[in-house]
């Protein structure tokens, strides 16, 4: 019978999450309490919340800088990533403290709000993918560098073509060759079933099994041995496709998140300048 986890064990297991949660609460308190004090003394609490929010945004942007300075010993990247997520949540709360409305009235402020929402949304999407996709990649049983995938696909394709040619040459039958040209050539050409892989679907596996089952009945025993080699290559290719889809998502969302975040920082700096010119 499995041993029930003790309370101390649970705390130890989640110590990091609890620590980050407490840290977030402290930071938020450090923004909310002085801002409340400013409000109580009829000064502008937006000064506190605004500058804090801008500082948080800069801290969030620092993750990108940290990645570029990978040679420097600037704390572990995993720490930076966790901090990025937590600071993002705190920034969302600080945004609400600062703006106190869902949708401002001025055009540039609306643009700023829209950018903040989009950056937050893409951040949440990216965070979610980062929780799901690496697990799925691990479950695939292989590791491959994303940039290496085109080369590996070419290699598998060449091996598949070699297998088909060897079959034709050795057995004098073109059944497998025609099958390859009509079906698998399309499959080995480039990554396929991207959306299915991204969703965690099994369309590729079904498709391979279906094609193989269709042709199997027309093949001799010797041809079937070649078909099984082809099957192994197709399954390896499907795993590469899964990596291409999942790793692609983990990289492509940044194409939206980072430019939007940069634009938001520019507009936030503009907003700060305007406030200082016109109001303070």
């Amino acid at each position: 019978m499995a041993e029930q986890p003790t309370r101390t064990g649970l705390i130890q297991r989640h110590a990091s999450a609890i620590g980050w949660g407490l840290g977030a609460i402290v930071v938020l308190g450090c923004i909310a309490l002085p801002s409340r004090h400013f409000a109580d003394t009829l000064r502008e609490p937006e000064l506190i919340t605004g500058y804090s929010l801008f500082g948080l945004c800069l801290l969030l942007a620092a993750l990108n800088g940290r990645k570029r300075l990978s040679v420097l010993p600037l704390i572990k990247t995993s720490f930076w990533k966790t901090m990025h997520w937590v600071a993002g949540l705190v920034a969302a709360a600080a945004y609400w403290l600062h703006v106190e409305t869902w949708w401002p009235t001025g055009l540039y402020e609306q643009a700023l709000a829209a950018l903040f929402y989009l950056v937050t949304l893409t951040g949440i999407v990216g965070f979610t993918w980062q929780q799901i996709l690496p697990r799925r990649l691990t479950q695939s049983g292989v590791e491959v560098i994303f940039e290496q995938i085109p080369n590996e696909i070419v290699t598998i394709r060449e091996q598949a073509e070699d297998t088909v040619l060897a079959c034709t040459k050795e057995l004098g039958s073109d059944t497998l060759a025609r099958f390859y040209v009509e079906t698998f050539q399309w499959f080995f050409r480039r990554p396929r079933f991207i959306l299915s892989h991204a969703r965690g679907g099994q369309r590729a596996a079904f498709w391979i099994a279906q094609q193989l089952a269709t042709v199997r009945r027309y093949l001799s025993e010797k041809e079937i041995a070649y078909l099984e080699q082809l099957q192994e290559l197709a399954e390896a290719k499907a795993r590469l496709d899964l990596h291409y889809a999942a790793q692609g998502l983990l990289k492509v969302w940044l194409l939206v998140h980072v430019p939007l975040a940069a634009a938001m920082l520019v507009l936030a700096a503009w907003h700060m300048l305007l406030v200082n010119v016109y109001s303070l």
Binding site: Y108, P150, N151
Partner: protein, 623 residues
């Protein structure tokens, strides 16, 4: 545990940080082992870059790409295996950088395109944080942002530099808005007991640029509880009880005893009912309805009484003419004469006689001018024309001449029976010789002039002058003898405020502002309860109060007792309760003291030559 995918032997090491990748990988062909250079040019047009060793060229194709070729380099050192150049593709990282740069550049270009520096009006989409409220939008339609933000008038770099200097934004608001009291102090009030309170900027409570329909004056309830920490959840549950004697803690300026009037003077069975001067019909009306005296159609927080002629005059008009202002009495130092001639209280008889004789000689020679010169000599700030208005030069000359004779008697000329008011000299009804003035009406300018003259002398003069002015004022405003019977009603208000310059307000009903931040509008209450019943629903006469005590000695405000009972919270709670009428703080409490427009701003607006925004621009020192 996941197995590392076995890389093919021809695979080149691909770093995610490299800015470009082989163009062949984009078409899912095998990428060359060299890959593009950092500038994005194809690096794989030859299979290798041979190296010269001694007099031979050696192939440098790595083992992963097939190792040294059998053919070897050409004699000139070039690789014999040529490939068409590819078009390298940017890596995802490079693409991200490009996209970021593009978006930021586009954004900055848009900001630049839609910002207007240098005071141009309107169209500054990149600056405008939202539409102005209607009330401000109309003032700023042509001058634009500069109407309220003078920084908008600056050019480029100066505009940016202004971000690093502080601005007096509330000062911009106060160009147009004004308040009674200190503009920037909390509640426009200097609280002597709370020196720690900082000035408050307008933006602490008011926001703008929230849309045309936004009410900038409306402030959230929370703005009150920021400072007022009393745990007031709702009016009926936790609002503190009203103060003792609320709202009658302080006396008004007019001595009017409601209890005595209702209980005695208006009573048709009282002994006063037989007095000829009493208007019985009016007394009956006044006894039945407060509206006989109070003009509820103009009701605001206070309900001012109707005019003297419509109310008090019905019974008291004759008293105004019964009591003359005695200016001069032969051979005596009347209070007014003593003041005009600056006579000391302990002056001996000979000196007094000499001074009076000298005064009469001057007046005999110069008439009214002589008298006026006497006043001017001792009190240069007076306006003798008002004080002596209507005084005949021949009358005063003749009287002065007669009073210098041995019997000191002047026979007054025939008086106009229909209008006994004005200046008189000679014997009065009691057989005494005097120069006197009889008020022609209530609010008589000559009597008001003398009282104002004495008040000014009191506030401006030295100790001796103040003492004489005080004594003369007491004489003029005495309940029994005071000229024109002014003091009967106005004594307290005028004596109380004698330290300051004379003001029309000192003669009027009402009192100094009590609870200036408390708001109450009578009109809706009256319309709900009915014009007569509504008054007594809240204002109940207290016959036991000693109302007269304060008016006998108006220096001690503490002893004032209103002849109305205090209004308690329960009176309001009958309607202002959950599910009934609003209980919001700001329904009864206002932050500002008498919000109004700045008079200078209003003057520019009223000049007619300026539109609102032009006036504002000029007022801000802009052209």
């Amino acid at each position: 545990m996941a197995e590392r995918f076995t890389p093919s032997p021809t695979a080149a090491y691909q770093r995610p940080t490299l800015p470009f990748r082989c163009g062949r990988s984009g078409t899912w062909e095998r990428p060359c082992w060299q890959g593009p250079d950092v500038g994005g040019r194809c690096g794989g047009t030859h299979e290798c870059a041979p190296v010269r060793r001694g007099d031979r060229w050696e192939c440098r194709r790595p083992a992963a790409a097939g190792g040294s070729c059998a053919q070897g380099p050409l004699p000139d050192g070039t690789c014999p295996h040529l490939r068409p150049a590819c078009v390298p593709l940017p890596s995802l990282r490079k693409l991200r950088g490009r996209l970021t740069l593009l978006v930021c550049t586009l954004l900055i270009a848009l900001l630049g395109a839609f910002v207007n520096f240098g005071g141009s009006s309107g169209g500054a989409l990149a600056i405008d944080p939202g539409p102005l409220s209607n009330v401000h939008a109309s003032f700023t339609s042509s001058a634009g942002c500069t109407s309220c933000h003078i920084e908008h008038d600056l050019d480029g770099l100066a505009w940016v530099a202004s971000a690093f200097t502080s601005h007096d934004q509330p000062g911009q608001c106060l160009e147009c808005h004004a308040f009674e009291g200190e503009d920037r102090a909390p509640h426009n009030t200097h609280y002597t007991g709370r020196q720690d309170l900082p000035d408050v900027g307008c933006a602490a409570c008011h926001t703008e640029h929230k849309g045309n329909d936004f009410d900038t004056a409306r402030v959230a309830q929370a703005a009150c509880t920021n400072c007022h920490r009393a745990d007031v959840r709702s009016f009926n549950e936790s609002h503190p009880p009203f103060p003792k004697h609320f709202p009658h803690q302080k006396p008004g300026r007019i001595n009017f005893d409601h209890a005595k009037h209702f209980g005695t003077y208006f009573d048709p069975n009282s002994k006063y009912a037989k007095q000829e001067s009493r208007d019985a019909e009016f007394a009956g009306r006044a006894r039945a309805a407060c509206t006989a005296c109070h003009a509820i159609d103009e009701a605001q927080r206070e309900i001012a009484p109707r005019s003297f002629e419509e109310t008090c005059a019905k019974c008291h008009a004759h008293q105004v003419r019964q009591r003359p202002l005695i200016v001069f009495v032969p051979e005596e130092a009347s209070p007014v004469t003593a003041f005009v001639l600056a006579l000391d209280e302990d002056i001996d008889d000979d000196e007094l006689e000499e001074k009076l004789a000298q005064f009469l000689r001057t007046v005999e020679e110069n008439g009214v001018d002589g008298l006026a010169a006497g006043v001017l000599r001792t009190h240069g700030n007076a306006r003798p024309a008002t004080l002596l208005e209507g005084l005949s030069a021949s009358l005063i000359k003749a009287a002065a001449a007669a009073w210098q004779t041995e019997d000191a008697e002047f026979e007054s000329p025939e008086t106009n029976e229909t209008d006994p008011g004005g200046w008189h000299a000679g014997e009065d009804d009691e057989g005494n010789q005097s120069l006197r003035y009889i008020a022609r009406r209530h609010n008589d300018p000559v009597l008001r002039g003398w009282i104002a003259f004495l008040r000014k002398a009191y506030s401006d003069g030295d100790d001796a002058a103040r003492e004489r002015a005080q004594a003369t004022l007491e004489f003029l405003l005495s309940d029994d003898e005071g000229a024109g019977a002014c003091g009967k009603c106005h004594r307290a208000g005028l004596m109380q405020s004698r330290e300051r310059l004379a003001s029309v307000r000192d003669w009027r009903s009402g009192g100094d502002p009590i609870r200036p931040l408390t708001r109450f509008v009578h009109a809706p209450h009256i319309s709900l309860l009915g014009p007569d019943a509504s008054c007594r629903a809240c204002h109940q006469i207290d016959p036991s109060a000693d109302y007269a005590a304060y008016f006998e000695d108006p220096t001690d405000v503490e002893q004032y007792q209103s002849n109305f009972r205090a209004i308690d919270k329960g009176a309001c709670e009958r309607c202002h309760a959950p599910g009934q009428v609003s209980m919001a703080c700001q329904l009864c409490h206002q932050y500002h003291r008498k919000p109004q427009f700045n008079p200078k701003f209003r003057a520019l607006r009223q000049a007619g030559t300026l539109s609102g925004d032009e006036g504002l621009a000029r007022h801000s020192g802009k052209t």
